[in-house]
Symmetry: C2
Subunit: 427 residues, 2 copies
């Protein structure tokens, strides 16, 4: 897979509080820190989903072309998601898409029928007016769903009307990458976006080529054994060709026998790494041609099949910069829902004979250099901003510029210059 850019993005005022959130002392990066309990084990329980759908405490996040509805007039970096209620979305989804059991819904599958994609995101257990549901244990909280309201197919008009109603209230959908909402909302949106995108991106079975359907509240796609379609379109033929078939049975598919990973959402592990020289006083940073002048970040790339993360870190640093690493330690991780990455942040140290930079193997980078800790420490103080933003006050032209603290790259560099790689710390 092509290399993963370091993705520096706008600074975020909420990150510092994330670093000491309720459950842990480890570094929690932007897009993590969800306030919701996903209740994964209730996703196939349509009695639960039906109650969650209609409860007075339930919130629905509308996404149009994967962009979320957001509140109006929020301060920069403190954006908030906006939610609607069941009555608002009823014209789009109908009375209750979970009225039957999942088994019954699969048996009735008809690939002619467009079903707006919904995702059950979880419950907020802090809401004391939330739904109470007695499963194997009792669960209490306000349910959250995401719904794809991109105007399409049979629900085009209903979606357009719903969208217009929100705009009439002064609300609108976010534009570009969503990096300006508060951290907890970013985590909720990341879940919504990654699941909606995965469903949209995978309408056919990679094993047999037939259309699949979404089940498990948006967390699984199944290849139904039957299809009630009256006009099943041959996928192998130009899409104008239509075939009328009089029976609903479909050819066999191996994904129906046992468990197949093709039925479940995909997440692509990536590596991103702060590389320290063998003396422990310099960091290796690289830059891409399209970045602003003086801007650098940590190296990064996709992990490959059948390599450990530690090996992936060594391979990427060798490919992109020719530098050879000794020890590699994992620092923290960051979900990255564009479209489905998991960024695994590591800190590695070069071996003394492997510090010469060589951009010739895989010419991904425009430049790569070793920077003194002191220069990086200074840039972390006065040179960070989002990629599209101006340098902050205090920055002097010609000085090193770096990504903001919402980027895991920034957290890795911060850890290194604060002593992560020194004798007193844990590397």
């Amino acid at each position: 897979m092509p290399k993963q850019p370091a993705n520096p993005e706008p600074a975020h005022p909420d990150v510092d509080s994330m670093l000491s959130r309720k459950f842990g002392k480890e570094v929690a990066n932007y897009f993590s820190g969800s306030p919701l309990n996903r209740l994964a084990f209730l996703r196939a329980d349509n009695v639960f989903l039906s109650q969650a759908l209609k409860h007075s405490s339930t919130s629905f996040l509308l996404c149009n072309e994967l962009q979320p509805l957001v509140q109006a007039n929020t301060p920069p970096g403190a954006g908030k998601l906006a939610y609607v209620k069941y009555e608002d979305i009823k014209p789009v989804i109908g009375e209750n898409p979970y009225a039957q059991t999942e088994k019954e819904i699969i048996e009735a599958y008809n690939s002619d029928v467009y079903v707006p994609q919904m995702i059950f995101l979880g419950i907020d257990e802090k809401d004391k007016n939330g739904l109470e549901y007695q499963g194997k244990n009792k669960y209490m909280g306000a349910p959250y769903f995401a719904i794809d309201v991109t105007p399409r197919n049979s629900v085009k008009e209903a979606c357009e009307k719903l969208i217009e109603a929100q705009k009439a209230k002064g609300l609108d959908f976010s534009k570009g990458r969503v990096m300006d909402v508060v951290a907890q909302d970013a985590a909720v949106y990341a879940e919504a976006r990654q699941l909606l995108d995965w469903n949209v991106r995978n309408p056919f079975c990679a094993s047999c080529g037939q259309p699949t359907m979404s089940v498990n509240a948006g967390f699984k796609r199944t290849c139904p054994p039957t299809d009630k379609s009256t006009k099943r379109i041959s996928n192998a033929l130009p899409s104008t060709t239509e075939q009328v078939v009089d029976q609903s049975a479909r050819p066999p598919c191996v994904t129906r026998n046992g468990v197949s990973n093709l039925s479940f959402p995909r997440t692509d592990p990536t590596v991103i790494m702060a590389v320290v020289n063998s003396a422990g006083d310099k960091i290796l940073l690289g830059r891409q041609r399209r970045w602003p002048p003086y801007w650098f970040s940590t190296l990064a790339g996709f992990a490959e099949p059948a390599e450990s993360i530690e090996e992936a870190v060594r391979r990427e640093v060798y490919e992109e910069a020719g530098v050879l690493l000794g020890r590699v330690v994992i620092h923290s991780t960051q979900p990255w829902p564009y479209p489905a990455n998991l960024m695994i942040g590591a800190i590695g140290q070069a071996i003394p004979t492997g510090e010469t930079i060589d951009l010739g193997n895989d010419p991904e980078l425009d430049d790569a250099r070793w920077f003194d800790f002191e220069e990086v420490r200074n840039a972390l103080a006065v040179g960070t901003s989002g990629l599209g933003e101006d340098a902050p006050a205090g920055y002097k032209e010609g000085g090193l510029r770096l990504p903001p603290n919402t980027a895991i790259a920034n957290q890795l560099m911060t850890a290194v210059v604060n002593g992560f790689a020194s004798g007193e710390s844990k590397i």
Copy 2:
């Protein structure tokens, strides 16, 4: 996705040497530690691949139904892969599947033609009689390929003959999970297996439902814009129906516009975690019903979309055991090519008010219990073995049994009882 078992497997004599392998001091788990340089940036260079294919130093790993050819009469736990030469596989692959450029091969795509899957695994740079290739830099080493010789379609007889020839030499294909070969061979096989399996498992485009083809030496599947098939089979219809079409253009597909993750191999991140109580003297272990008596291991499961690894660890431990975690730190990772997992090993600590075990949320486990460090330390000394094996000498009936040191679960428990979670160490 369903939970990932801890996968305890047979002990391996080579693991201790892996722990201090050339490049790092961090824990290197079984299936990592490949001796090959993958040269990822040369995978689309068919001039390079053609030379690598025919070089005298080149080795081919045959896989039949994903099982590798292995050497005969090796001692237990010291198995070795067996390789063949170009002349052996020529009847299966033809003179040179890389004779044209990749662009030309895609333009000539014909879904009627069966192409045996090959994977370029990398070069062994320690072999001084290897291929020398001048790309942007000079690369030297002995090339390794994997090839799927499962007898199928047009190459059924050629594969059968090749397989018989190996058996006549006393060689045979491995059976069951390959955990008894030396560590470096395990890493080479893991790469071969995961890539061969991914190609076999994904013959159709999940975006448009049409057949795809393997490119980039087995590391990419592309959805060609044309298909020279004379009998393209409609995927939406029963597979007996054949359609004759007189033009090769196929419907549009979004994977052809820019980069799509659907074109690249999938790796599923999983979490596996040693959980320590808040006092720091007990470990939480669980067991599945199908395991032998007294056998326990660490908890594990698939990471979900848009959660950090640290969040995934907390969610899984809550779902499976009802225990609530504070800090979570990542320890090491393990590739797991059955079929495409990346196991991310972590160590987490319970919060004082969250230590009560509750198996009721998601009844995955038959039992879960807190074990004193002392009991785990003793079991690591006298109670480890592969799942299907007898307890080792020195084990007393009724004592705790644990997975062997090829399992990352074992490495995590070892780290904990050796002080990873104590004040002097890095948690």
